[in-house]
Amino acid sequence: MPRLHWEDFSPGQVTECGSRRIARAEIVAFAAEYDPQPMHLDEAAARASLFGGLVASGWHSCCVLMRMLNDGLLGETSCMGAPGVEEVQWLAPIRPGERIKARATVLETRSSRSRPDLGFVKFRWELINAADQSVMTMIVSEMFGRRAANAARRAEPNAPSEP
C-alpha cells in the first residue's frame, strides 16, 4: 500500500529529494548513448564550444531529476505516471563534479471528472546547484491513485484492474 495518495498533496508543499554529485563518467556515458554532441562527450571539444567546458546533456538533467524524484518522493506514492510535461527550462549547465539537489513543489491539485479513482497533482520540479541556483525546472502534472480507490481494490482482491 503506498504511503501517499492524491489526497495527501496540497498546493505549497515542498519535498526535498536529496542531493548527489554528477560524475564526469556518467555525463559522458549518457551522452554517448542519447545525446552524442561534442560538448557532452569530449573535454577539448567542449572547451571550444559556447559552454567552455564539458556539460551534461539537458536530457541527462531530466533523467537525473526523474530518478531523484522517484527515490525521494514518487516511490512511496500511488503515482500512475504523467500524460505529459508542461514545460522544461534548462537555466544553467551542469558540469562534472557538481553537487545538485532535487526539490518538488506542489502548484495545484485537481480531481479527474472522468476517472473518480485518480487525481492530478501539478508540480514544479527543480535541480538546484551548490550556489542554490535553479539549473533546471520541470512543470509536470502527475496522476495519483485516490486513497478510497486503493482501499476498495484491496478489500476486493479479485476486482479487475483499471482499464
Binding site: 542519447y34 552524442p36 533523467c63 522517484n70 505529459g84 514545460e87 522544461v88 527550462q89 534548462w90 484492474s161
Partner: protein
C-alpha cells in the same frame, strides 16, 4: 545544420525510427525512472497501462539520439557537396510535451520534426531562434509523443541573405 536563412516554417523531416525491446525499456527505467510499470511485466499488468511500457523520458531520449544522428548525416552530405555547415547553439528547453499513448514492448516509433516558428535574435546578431514540433508515431500510426522545442541556429554573416 542549415543556416537560419535557409530554413522555412513548415519544413518537415523524417529523422528515423526505433523499436523498443523489453530489455531496452527495463534498462532505461532501472537507471532513470524505476516505476513498477516500466520495470516488471507482472506489475505492469496490474497497472492502468496493462502491459510493460517505456518511460516517457525514454521515448524522448531516443528522439534526441535520432535527431543528433540525422543532423550528422545531413551535415556530412553538405560537406560532401562543398557546402558550409551552420552551428547549432544550446536549447533553452521544451514545452507542451504530451504522451498520448504508451510505448509498449515491440513498438516501432517513427519520429518527425517540423519547423513551426522562427525569428532573428536582436540580442545575438549572428544567431536566430527556431521553434520545432517533434512527434513520434507507432507502427499503427498512433501518436505516442509530441513536444515543442527551440534552438539557436547560426546565421550566414558575410554571405548575402537567401531570397
Amino acid at each position: 545544420m542549415k543556416f537560419f536563412e535557409d530554413i522555412r516554417v513548415g519544413e518537415k523531416s523524417d529523422i528515423g525510427r526505433h523499436t523498443f525491446t523489453a530489455e531496452d525499456i527495463k534498462a532505461f527505467a532501472a537507471r532513470f525512472d524505476p516505476q513498477p510499470f516500466h520495470l516488471d511485466e507482472a506489475a505492469a499488468a496490474r497497472s492502468h497501462f496493462g502491459r510493460l511500457c517505456a518511460s516517457g523520458l525514454h521515448t524522448a531520449c531516443v528522439w534526441m539520439r535520432l535527431m543528433i544522428n540525422y543532423r550528422r548525416r545531413e551535415d556530412e552530405a553538405r560537406r560532401a557537396r562543398g557546402e558550409a555547415v551552420a552551428q547549432l547553439g544550446p536549447s533553452p528547453g521544451f514545452r507542451d510535451l504530451e504522451w498520448p499513448r504508451p510505448v509498449y514492448v515491440g513498438d516501432t516509433i517513427s519520429y518527425d520534426t517540423e519547423v513551426v516558428e522562427m525569428r532573428p535574435l536582436e540580442s545575438r546578431p549572428g544567431w536566430g531562434m527556431i521553434v520545432v514540433r517533434n512527434t513520434g508515431v507507432n507502427q499503427r500510426g498512433e501518436a505516442v509523443i509530441s513536444f515543442i522545442s527551440s534552438a539557436f541556429v547560426e546565421r550566414r554573416e558575410r554571405e548575402p541573405q537567401a531570397s
